[in-house]
Every structure is written in structure tokens, then in C-alpha cells.
Symmetry: D2
Subunit: 321 residues, 4 copies
């Protein structure tokens, strides 16, 4: 990164997930992940973790095919929003303003180079819990109910991309994301990039789409506060018949502690904890070679083939079915 860092975007505010099995998907997010239904509108249900300060971080929408509806980024301020919109428009990937959606104000729609639908917005409604969900500690947005995996919030989004480098540099140059780690193959192409708008080791990930499709989702990741809760989530996945694609273990890249499952709609969902915080303001990105990546995850685990090929939407069989 050269020049002054761009601090205009704060974080991923929410993601919209598409599902062809809306009732079953809702059951997964509500009972297994333990999220709360905050609102319903049309074919969408808005869900929240107990740590979300906004009304929701997941919009679950019925659709013919699984995949990402859109992902929305919150700006630091109105001025910051306008600066980013100007930069996006200059990139030629802007689509224009919309009035907003449930819980937030005007948003500007655009695409990343791979074609994923993105938005930026600033104005937001903060969550106000109804009595049964009022927390005991007022520095917490909502009661911790402990239901299911009891995820705290949406943590990061992993997008597949035909050209990782193009999307990574767009995220850096236009959106102001910081690059913390990336994988460079022997042919010089980029297989993955881990980006963040904060000290968290990753908030936005681009991974190469093995099928060279466009606009696909690898996974949404939801945060829990301990590794023990990730292990507990694995037991809950097992007991509830949720296909575990990758059992809890530790990633090499970003060192996140993971559990991957497939929700009933066919989308891959991660329950995550761990990783590291990047306090270095000019952190030199870690670059992994093809040989280094071939060694598997941190403790030697080899993730299954589908983990490297499957994304949504897909014409292939859903893993575990």
C-alpha cells in the first residue's frame, strides 16, 4: 500500500444469503446457530447474533438458487461514504443509489470485478432489544441466550473469484481494505487474499473459483468467543444432522479456528474463533507459496476436495447429500 491509508469503511454490515429451502435454512440459523429473528419482509427473514449492534447481520432470502444476495459495507461517516462512492464510480463498477433497506439508510450499489453485488451505506438503526432479550450487562446489545451455537455476529465473508488479484486490488485501492495475507502460485497467479478493514485478521477473503464461475460465495463465517464454542458447535451440527464439511481445526492462513458445515440451502457456513490481531499499521502481507499451501492446515489437516471446488450457486451436488 502506498500513500495514506483509506479509513472510510468500517466493516461488513450484513450479508444476504439466498436459499432454495427457506424454512429449513431458517431452522438452521435460528435453532442450530442460535440467531434471533429480528424482522421478516417479503421473502426475507432478518437475523442477528447476540453481539450485533445493528438490527441484523444476516438477511436470509428465498431464491431459486443458493448463493450470496448481496454484501453491505458500512462507512465511517457520511463524508466517508461519499468519498467511497466517488471512488467506486470512478472505477466504473458503480450501479447507483437505493433508498436503503430494513434497518439502514441510503445505500450505493456496485459490483466487485467478479460481479458480486455489494453496497455501501452509513445511516443505521441500532438494535433495541425487546424485554425478553434485554441483556444483564448494558454494554452488550442483546441477551446471551445460549441457544444452539449462539453465534455472536457475522465475522467475515469469503467470496470466490475467477481473478483473485483483480478483486483484491479493487478492495485495496477502491474500498480501502488492507491486505494481510495472500497465496501466490508458482505461475504467479493469486489463489487467495485475506483482507480487513480493522485489526481483525480477515473480514473479506477472495479465493480462486476452481470452476471459474463468477459471483459465487465460498462461505459466510459467524463468530463465537472461544474455541470451546467451536467444538460445541460441532457437537450441535452432529446432533442436528448438519453436514460437517471440515471438523474443527486451525487454519494455516490467518490462523483462524474453524468449523465448516453446509446449511440446508446448500451454502457453506463457518463457525469461527481465533486468528490474530494486526496492530502494525504498515503490516507487510504474508505471502504463501504453492508448496507452502500444499502442507495443509496448521496441524496437518487436509480439507476435503469439495472445500476447494464447491461454492454457491452450484450445479454440482451439495456436499453431504
Amino acid at each position: 500500500m502506498t500513500g495514506e491509508p483509506i479509513h472510510d469503511l468500517a466493516h461488513i454490515g450484513h450479508a444476504e444469503l439466498l436459499t432454495p429451502r427457506p424454512e429449513e435454512s431458517l431452522g438452521f440459523f435460528e435453532r442450530v446457530l442460535g440467531m434471533e429473528v429480528e424482522a421478516r419482509e417479503g421473502r426475507s427473514v432478518f437475523l442477528r447474533g447476540w453481539g450485533d449492534y445493528q438490527r441484523y447481520s444476516l438477511k436470509l432470502t428465498e431464491a431459486e438458487r443458493a448463493g450470496l444476495g448481496h454484501m453491505a459495507l458500512r462507512a465511517w461517516s457520511q463524508d466517508a461514504l461519499e468519498r467511497r462512492v466517488a471512488a467506486i464510480e470512478a472505477s466504473g463498477l458503480g450501479h447507483g443509489w437505493i433508498d436503503g433497506d430494513l434497518g439502514h439508510g441510503p445505500a450505493y450499489r456496485f459490483s466487485d470485478p467478479d460481479g458480486h453485488a455489494l453496497e455501501v451505506y452509513f445511516e443505521v438503526e441500532r438494535y433495541s432489544p425487546p424485554e425478553p432479550l434485554r441483556p444483564a450487562l448494558k454494554n452488550q446489545p442483546q441477551r446471551y441466550t445460549g441457544r444452539g451455537a449462539a453465534v455472536k455476529r457475522l465475522d467475515h465473508v469469503n467470496l470466490l473469484a475467477a481473478d483473485v488479484r483483480a478483486n483484491r486490488t479493487f478492495a485495496e485501492d477502491v474500498l480501502g481494505y488492507r491486505l494481510y495475507e495472500r497465496v501466490e502460485l508458482d505461475d504467479g497467479s493469486e489463489a487467495g487474499a485475506w483482507l480487513s478493514r480493522s485489526i481483525a485478521a480477515h473480514e473479506l477473503i477472495y479465493v480462486r473459483d476452481a470452476r471459474r464461475s463468477r459471483g459465487r460465495l465460498h462461505h459466510l463465517a459467524f463468530w463465537v468467543d472461544t474455541r470451546e464454542e467451536v467444538l460445541r458447535a460441532a457437537d450441535l451440527f452432529l446432533e442436528n444432522g448438519v453436514h460437517i464439511e471440515a471438523a474443527p481445526s486451525k487454519h494455516t492462513v490467518a490462523q483462524g479456528f474453524f468449523l465448516y458445515g453446509i446449511e440446508p440451502g446448500g451454502n457453506r457456513i463457518e463457525v469461527t474463533n481465533g486468528g490474530y490481531l494486526v496492530y502494525d499499521p504498515d503490516h507487510p502481507p504474508t505471502v504463501w507459496s504453492e508448496a507452502e499451501r500444499a502442507r495443509g492446515q496448521a496441524w496437518g489437516v487436509r480439507t476435503v476436495e469439495s472445500f476447494h471446488t464447491y461454492g454457491t450457486p452450484s450445479d454440482e451436488p451439495v456436499p453431504g447429500r
Copy 2:
């Protein structure tokens, strides 16, 4: 202990808890501790943890006053049961046989020297889960639902006694309990005794009743598999308005990791993990002096006064009210 060890009793099969607020107490055990209602009969509800192999380990009974209804010990075999009954009868504390209760066969009723109502039995019904509670792994009696603190089973019972030594030696000599730790005050009297019928560091505890009452209960303890779950239970107590009498920390004696709360009926309940296993068949009991006990818990925590004086039933105010 001299002579051959007595292996006739296996474990505490269940405890009956009395509550003057049956609906609220049931809410606590079902929603906050996460137990399942296995049966109802008369003024009693029978509850189980997900790891109980019998139908229940807690019988919750409506009564005018809080306290222990009775505690039932399961024998290793029918012969073992008869041997223990003979020993109890010889002690003069036997009351006679009853036909059994829900889930188990004939039981012999007796008292310990302090007057607590005890039973021994052998025949038992093993738990057979209904479809919604069938576990994914068949070496587990019931599905892990993860609801509330999700306690696994009744772990140990702590009884108050006017004369600890008399009850401790009764437990050793007549019931075959092994003594692992005890507290001896400067005046030679005994302030507490930690006994077990297995390698677990404590299953039955006698602690001196500061009020010199008889037949009172200090607490029932329920097991969770990790210390993290004890911490999680503390958050759930906090969110559900359960009075925390002692926040999670580590005991000096037996090294158990604890959380103590008061259930709505006024009884003290522990969520527990940790401790150590005693593999030594002729383990020399650890004896703590008055001065050693004065140092507090393992990490220096001083438990509140009520922890050392309150038991059920009680004429004193319930802690936290």
C-alpha cells in the same frame, strides 16, 4: 481404611430436591440448567441430564420448605445390595424396604447419623430416548441439545451435618465410601469430609452445619464437561436472574472448578467441572488444618459468609433475596 475395601455401592443414583416454588424451580432446571423432563408423578417432576444412563438423576418435589427429600445410592449388584442392607441394619439406622420409585426397583430406606433420608437400590430402568432426543453417537444416552447450561448429570451431593466425623465414618464403614480429603480444626473436630465411591475426587461431601441443625443440604452439583461451560453457565445465570453466590473459581479442597447459584426454591446448586481422579487404591487422605483452610480457595477467593452458614431448609433469608 483397614481390611479389604467395600465395593458394594456404585454411585449416587439420584437426589430428590424439595421446593416451595415448584414452577419456578422447574423453569430453572429445565431452561437454565438445560435438563429434560422425563416424567411427572404427583407433586414431583423427574429430570435428567444428557449423560444420565438412568431415566433421571433429579426428582424435584413440591414441598413447604426447601431441602433434600432423599438421596438414593445404586448398588453394584443384587448381592451387593443385600450386603449393604445387612450392614445398615446392623448400624441401627435402617428403616426398611420400599417397593421402589419411578425408574427403579426395591429400595431400602435408612438415615445417616445426621438424619438425612437415604436409600439403596440395584434394579434400574435404563433410559430410552424418544426420537427427538436420540443421540447421533450411540455411546451416549441422549442427544446433547445444548440448551442452557446443558448439564450432563448429577455429580455430587454436599450434606450439612452437625457431627461430620460421625457421618464420615458411617459412610466409610457402613457404605464403603473412600475418604479422599478432610478438614480438621484446631480443636480436633472435623469441619468437612470429601468421600467417593469411584476415582472421582468427590461424590459425597459432609460439611459442618454452622447452625447445628440436622438433615440439611448444602448443595447438589451438576457436571459439565469443561471449565468453559462453567463460565458459560455463569453468563446464563446472570442473564436469567439466578443469584450467583460464588462466581466461577477453583476450590482448594478437591480442586473442583465451581459456580454456585441459588435456584428459585432456595436450594444451592453447583455447576462443576475439574477436580482430579484418584487412581491410588490406598490413597492417604489429605488432611487440611484450620490455618490452611483460612487461606481461601485455590486462587485466593474468599467465599461469602452465606456459603458457610446457609443450607436448606432454613429460617434465614435466601441469599440474593
Copy 3:
């Protein structure tokens, strides 16, 4: 099990491990597993975990080939010892008395049907820590130093056997072990048996030797008190170049939480936590079918081929080399 249970043996007192690389193996047990050297004698080093009440639970002996030297079982009493010796002699597998070894008294040597060298003994020296290893809490045999994985004690031993059933029934009928789980293949043969002398879910395991060799070791397992410590041990294995054969995850059988690595001498070592306690005195063993075993570990993990074929001694390459 029919008839009265046999309570004569208490637990596995220690195991002797053979290593062709004694210095490196010692480095592993002392620095990576964090055990203490209690004594040295001839070509052996005696090591202990911080929770061992005896002087040691591991005897590490230089030898041409890796494998189990012997495994020693402690009896409940002198009478119990003599009863078991009589039973062993009656089985035709007894070898005779030896004077004892460092830290324990007279021992009777024998073989299991597969030819593993076993011993039973009763008299023992309890550990008395030198000043730098004196614990803060006197109900603990030794200071917790926290060095390396800081294993607490030897937990269980897994032996390979050409004929699992023959060894399992010997352990039950002659030694008094209780069977908690076993695997029965479609052809009626037995692929594994999990046995215990206590409420712990396994202390002695027999697993079929894929090579049909005799007297081989699958692994020794050392206990840590939390799953978090197993995860931490995996980081320490990684940092210290110890080959991780199976990253931390949860077993289906016995539900133990595991980490398997290969120590420098070529023997497989487990760091373990979890499992369940069997309070039921007439616990019906869980029997797993071939199809059920084919589903992998609890969260779907498939252990690598070497886990199912490699044992010590071996003519095959050591995993990870």
C-alpha cells in the same frame, strides 16, 4: 459380565517404552510433553507427569527397536494381588515373580494372549517432590510447572493384537477389566475393545493389528485436564517438529478428544482429554458395526492410513519421516 465383578486391579501403574533414539525421545517427553525425570538407571530414564502419585508412570528404555517394554498393573491390595496371580497362573500365561523395579515392590510377570509383557504389583513408593517441585496445594503430588504440554499422567495404553477377542476376554475374565465398547466386523471378528478398571471410559484398549504381528504397541496416551490443552499441545508439536499423525478431534468410540504424534523413537503418543465416565455398574457395552465405524470420527474426520496400520516395532517407515 456374569457373576460378581472382580475389583482386584486398580490401574495401569506404568508403561515401559523402548526407543532406538533415547536422547531425542527423552527430549520429547521432557521438553515437549513436559514430564519430569525422576530417576535414571542403566539404559532407562523414569519420567512422571505432575499428577502421578507414584514416582513415575513412564519408563523410557534404550533398545534396538521401538515398542512396548512392558506394562505394569497395580493391584488394590496384597490379597488382591495374590488372587490375580493365582488366576493368571491358572490361565497358563504366567511367568513368575520378580523382585520389583525402581519405585515398586515384588511383581508377577505374565503375558497377554498376544504376547505383550505385563506385570502386576501392589507395593509402591509414593512420590515425594524435591523442593523446586513442591506443589502449592498439598492435594497435588507435584508442582504444575506448565512446561510443554504439561501432561498430568499416563492415561491409557492401546495394544495391537492379532486376535482382539482372545485378549479382550483374557482382560475381562482373568484381570477383571470391564468392557465398555467394542467393534465387531461383519465377519463376526472383533476389531477393537475398550476396557477399563475404573469409571474412566478406557484404560486398556486392544485394536486389531493390521499386519497380524504380535506384541505390538499402538500408542501410549497421556492426560491433560482440558481440551484447550490438547489444542495447545498441537501447537507445541508443530513448533517442535513433532510429526502430527492426527490433529486434535473427537473420537466416536469412547468420545475421547485426541492428538496423535510420533515421538522421535518412532512410537505413537497421544495427548488426550474428554471421554465419559461409566457410573453404571452393569453397563451394557456399546457394540459398533463395520458400517458404523466406516463413518469416521465423531465430527467426520478420517484418520490417515498409517493410523490403522502402523505400530511398534515396525519394519515400515515411521509416519512423517
Copy 4:
């Protein structure tokens, strides 16, 4: 906060701790906290956690009295550094440039209103591990040795101040810190303020000095990645004779999981984990009233009197001596 946020400072780069018992203090930080000695110079030893990207985060300096030597803040860039220096100079609290110290370039010295010695700098040497400390994963600055509590890095600094509000507004307006939580007493005065330059819930804390002294330190806090490691650190404190002033529990404010001990020099040290991340760019600070603070920590724990009165330097007895 009004106007555009100030993003010029990145984090607390290091703190200098003064100790009248340098050898014993060094023993504490090296063996009990598990930090590495990176360099020595004059009367100072420079120590690092395994996650520090700079050469050190703690400078331990022999002095007549305990306390904070200075605290140094790293800027985002050279331009950002100059902007902050200009703001500091305008505040009248600037002292002037120094050439730098081991591991970093030119620094500007100044005071906060309470008189604590502070510095800002940008240029830094990144840590390059010697062979024995090279990590297995290259996205980690140093090998995880697991020695002692194995703290990862300096996490936050808690300063006592006669006038919390004056210091808090200085940190916000001049340094660009964000205020996440504060305590306001019934008389309108401020008893504490929790500030951060990142999404972490606190990096810089001001708490009212009960003695109305100036320039004193409440504590330095070092991070570990799990609550289990905080519990483990408590065992290590116990085994190593480190006075535990507050056993592990959960704070109400900022929800950090804590362990407080007193290092041999007399300074209070925290081992910390937990808390929450603040993704909201215009997070409304939580304001706690006097009555709310009187309820104790999250699970009801009452911290001891010394926790609210003792700071360094002090003329009072060191807690635990």
C-alpha cells in the same frame, strides 16, 4: 465525537516499567509470564511476547521506585506522526523530540494532563527471530514456546489519574482515542474511562487515583488467546508464589476476562482475554452510574480494597506482602 475521526495513532507500542527489584521482576516476566529477553541496555531489559511484531513491548528498567517509566504510541505513518505532534504541541503538553530508543526511530515526548510520560513514534524495527525462536507458521512473529503463561503481547495500559475527565478528553481530542465506556459518579465526576485506537474494547484506560497522586500506574495487561490460558496463568501464579490480587473472573466494564497479580517490583500485572470488538464507527459510549458500578464485576465478584486504591509508585504496603 464530532467531526471526522482521527486515525493517526495505531496502538501502544510499548511500555516501560520501573522496578526496584530488577532481577526478581525479570524472573517474573521471563519465567512466569513467559516473555523473551530481546535485548539488554544499561539498567533496562527489553522483553517481548510471542505475538509482538516489534522487537519488544515491555522495557523493564531498574529504578528506586516501581511505576510506569513511559508509554509509547506508534503512529500510522510519518505524516500521521507529524500531525499528532502538532496537536500535542498545541495542547501545551509537548516536551520535544528524542532520537529514539532501541528498536524504534525518533520519538516525540509529552505528558498527559496527569503527568504520565508518553511518546509517539513511527519508525520501527520489525522482529527477526533467531533460529531457536523461528515459528513454524510464517504469519507469526515468533515461535510459541508455551513457557509460563506464554503471554502473546502487551494488550492495554491502565493509568491512574487525579482527574479522569481531563485525561480522557485529552486522549480523545489530541490523540484521537475513541471512548467506549466510562463511569460517571453521582457528583458528575468521572471515575474511569475505557479508550481504544482500534476495535478492541480497551487499549488505554484512565481510572481515578483514590490517593489523588499523579502519574501513577494501575496496571499493565498482557494478552493470552483463551480464557483457559488465564485460568492456567492463575495456577502458575499460585505455584510460583506470585500474589494473586484478583482471581480470574469477568469484568462488567468492557467484559474482559482478568487475572491480576503483583510482580516482585510491586507493580500490578494483568493477564487478560475476552472483551468485545467495537465495529460500530460511531459507537455511543456506555456510561455506568455509581449504583451500577457498586454491583461488582459481571458475576458478582467484589474486588479487594487494594484494587481500588493501590497504584505504583506507592508509599503503602505492596498487596500480598
